[in-house]
Amino acid sequence: MTIRRMMRGLMVMALLVMIGSAVNAQQSTETLTVYSGRTEDLIAPILEQFTQATGVQVEVRYGSTSEMAATLLEEGQNSPADVFIAQDAGALGALANEGQLAMLSPDVLERVNPEFSSNNGQWVGLSGRARVLVYNTDLVSVDQLPASILDLADPVWADKIGWAPTNGSLQAHVTALRLLIGEDATRAWLEGLLANNAVAYDNNRAVVQAVIDGEVEVGLTNHYYLLGFQAENAEVAAANYFFPGGDPGSLINVAGAGVLSTSDTPALAERLILYLLGNDAQSYFSDVTYEYPLAVGMTANALLPAIETIKNPALDLSDLSDLQTTLDLLSTVGATP
């Protein structure tokens, strides 16, 4: 009878699920759980290469950087994660402050220039990204662009700006602004952007797409998204504008990684981070995603301006860890829901 067959099927299913989870538990020595604040299309290919090279299975949970950080904070001692790959230094710093990141071994730390890693060795930068203003070349010319990021709060930019306030890179930039120009000025700037009806997109790619389409004239984003679009179509009517040196709009942030202190396979976790700092992964970041490779001895893509010209000397990436205040600020002014 159908019901009896159904029951039997159910038992078999339940059994399979149990066996499945048991097998999963068995495998855990050769499986790494990664929480990634970087999107799947940017990081998944290199993680697959790691699996091919080492045989270690990688299970990845994707989400926004702040979501993954909040999830890790909620999980605390119970977290199943081994490695956290974040889109910005701030989220890593926040976790380090809570004691949730383990110390990395010198093998790992010495592969990265110290200015792109944590001061006390709990995370390393994997790739660098410049904050830029991408603009539509049909709608605005270079000489019309603002000299400072702070000028975007001026009413002349009303209805012309796109940004991604839920994105980790933008949030790290706001944290940087708080450090560079102070809390009140940052709040005023955010309120100015909102008064200008800055259009909030879900992510950086959507911001750049909107600029290319002319939906908005300028967009706050990372430098490499446009290069991705240009690789598909060299004719896109958009260009990156780097705020002149010293402006708080110009800075290098990093996508980085750390090992969770609760990981039961820290050695394996470090192996993944070492792989991400290895030649294959670093050239991937340089050639395919158009970021700045951060491992010692790597050279940047020739399409990019030298990293030294963009870096903001007044900013230490380890100081970006107060992400919580930034998130509260964004929420209070109404930039995020």
């Binding site: 339940a14 499945g20 299970e59 990845v60 909620e74 119970n78 992510n203 998130l327 829901p337």
Partner: protein, 546 residues
């Protein structure tokens, strides 16, 4: 064979009963205590995570209180309520004429418009919203068509207007279905009497027809209101700060998750208030209900000069609600094929989706037996409450249930956190009502005599249930399982929050592909889901007729 044995035994039993009135009924209820215990257990499974979240929300203390009464939170409350009222009004204003036109008028192609209108139901709201944005966004397909005319952008669709449009459109069927049923069953004699008393033309509709439709409109409005409050996809995509969107944003964009819990708690209170209203109107509705005096069909009204506007109205509704999404999706699929989309990766997600849906649906099928049997055998006031608890998932938004389980599992049962069982539990809490409802209505059609007969054949307790009750209610149980299967397949927020690391279903893939701007990858899985939805709809209709 067994049916014949059953039948002859049935006769014997009724004869015996005639001689001994005390036989049967009293002894049959002996299994109730066990059923009660099982129902209480199931109710606890449903309640525990939610209770945990409530405790967590209350733990926020004075900070939490300040957050609840902050201007932004009250703004969210106002947003949600405004949207709810506007969607109800919009859906009624569109739904009632549509229902009337497709039942009572001489509108050409009535059946076609009806099916077209119901097609809207098949499309999950998040897909509907994606399609609306693709079609009517500032630089959407409509704008591209108008480009030669010098239109280089359309006014923004995001915000209240977009959310209102999508939800109104997708809630119209909730009004059309009950109103159509009422229109078909109400007594034409009333309208005839009115005409004979000199009421003319449209006045008949306003003074007689509409008042008799009030209970149906009320019921549909409450469904619409509940749906609007619980919808996550449409308000998120339209960037309208209603509860569900802000809960998710607080979840993903804040280190202080007690705020998400507080918002969820507010939404629970709002939902329960609505459900209580529904209960009251449902019990009051019986007073108003008119008896079916005659079996005659009501008069078909000639539209005359209104025929063209009526056709335009129906064409607009079906065109925007059903045709536009299908055209865009087909376009995307073709673009995907052109770009050589990776169908192999999609197959993993299809298997995942089908797999969890089957497991969840079967478990729900089994779990719904106890509450349904309890309601069937002993519908006392206490038992009604017990069974009512298992219906909680019906009113609570998925995102609230999922959030509750995140809190519960990561703190109370870390070993189960982010595992398949917790995801399945999320589905069970959310969709158990479908199973219980379906099984229960199947049981309600059974005469208690069958179980009494079973007892005379020597079956006790579980044997009785297994050999007599379940086989007789089989079609209803199977329909419930099928319906839950299809609902789980389409579910987005629960999967988004609770899926084990690395586990993706079709809705999640659609959601992620859309937010990454990979539109070509959205088409194929979406069409697949819509086909599934169509199947679920046809099942639902069969269920209603049965």
């Amino acid at each position: 064979m067994s049916e014949i044995r059953l039948f002859s035994a049935f006769r014997t039993a009724t004869m015996q009963q005639a001689y001994n009135p005390r036989f049967g009924a009293l002894r049959i209820w002996r299994g109730v205590a066990g059923l009660k215990l099982l129902t209480v257990l199931i109710g606890l499974i449903v309640l525990l995570p939610i209770a945990y979240m409530v405790v967590r929300a209350l733990g926020a203390g004075t900070d939490g209180l300040a957050y609840v009464f902050s201007a932004r939170t009250l703004g969210v409350l106002v947003n949600s309520l405004m949207l709810m009222v506007a969607v109800v009004i919009g859906a009624v204003v569109i739904g009632v004429p549509f229902a009337w036109l497709t039942t009572r008028s001489d509108l050409p192609l009535r059946r076609f418009w009806l099916i077209g209108g119901m097609m809207i139901m098949v499309i999950p709201s998040y897909i509907g919203a994606m399609m609306m944005i693709a079609a009517f966004g500032p630089r959407g397909m409509l704008q591209q068509m108008l480009e030669p005319l010098g239109v280089d952008r359309l006014p923004t669709i995001y915000g209240f207007f977009g959310a209102w449009c999508v939800l109104t459109l997708y809630c119209v069927p909730y009004i059309v279905l009950p109103v159509r049923a009422a229109l078909r069953h109400c007594d034409p004699a009333l309208e005839e009497a009115a005409r004979s008393l000199g009421v003319r033309g449209s006045a008949v509709f306003w003074r007689i027809t509409l008042p008799t439709l009030r209970p149906a409109i009320g019921a549909g409005s409450l469904l619409t209101a509940l749906y609007t409050l619980s919808d996550f996809g449409a308000v998120s995509l339209m960037r309208y700060d209603a509860f569900t969107r802000v809960i998710y944003a607080q979840y993903t964009n804040s280190f202080d998750r007690s705020r998400a819990a507080l918002l969820a708690l507010m939404l629970i209170v709002l939902t329960i208030a609505l459900l209580l209203i529904e209960r009251r109107t449902l019990s009051r509705r019986r007073i108003y209900r008119t008896s079916i005096g005659t079996q005659r069909q009501s008069r078909i009204v000639a539209l005359k000069r209104w025929k063209v506007p009526a056709l335009a109205f129906c064409a607009l509704l079906v065109g925007i609600g059903a045709v536009t999404p299908l055209v865009i999706l087909t376009h995307w699929v073709l673009r995907g094929v052109e770009m050589g989309i990776d169908l192999e990766s999609l197959s993993i997600e299809t298997v995942n989706t089908a797999g969890v849906s089957i497991i969840a649906a079967l478990l729900i099928g089994v779990l719904s037996l106890a509450p349904a049997l309890l309601a069937f055998r002993s519908n006392t006031r206490v038992n009604q409450w017990l069974v009512g608890v298992t219906y909680l998932g019906n009113g609570l938004p998925s995102i609230v249930i999922a959030l509750a389980l995140v809190f519960f599992a990561s703190n109370a049962t870390p070993a189960l956190y982010q595992t398949m069982p917790i995801l399945i539990l999320g589905y069970i809490i959310r969709f158990l009502p479908i199973g219980v409802g379906s099984t229960r209505s199947a049981l309600m059609g059974l005469s208690p005599r069958y179980e009494e007969v079973g007892r005379t054949l020597g079956f006790h307790r579980w044997a009785l249930v297994r050999r007599i009750t379940i086989p007789l209610a089989r079609s209803g149980i199977v329909a419930g399982v099928a319906l839950t299967f299809l609902s789980v397949m389409k579910e987005l927020p629960t999967t988004l929050l609770l899926a084990p690391t690395g586990f993706k279903t079709l809705p999640v893939e659609i959601w992620m592909a859309n937010s990454d701007g990979r539109f070509a990858a959205v088409g194929a899985p979406t069409l697949l889901l819509i086909a599934v939805g169509a199947l679920s709809l046809s099942l639902m209709f069969r269920d209603k007729r049965g």
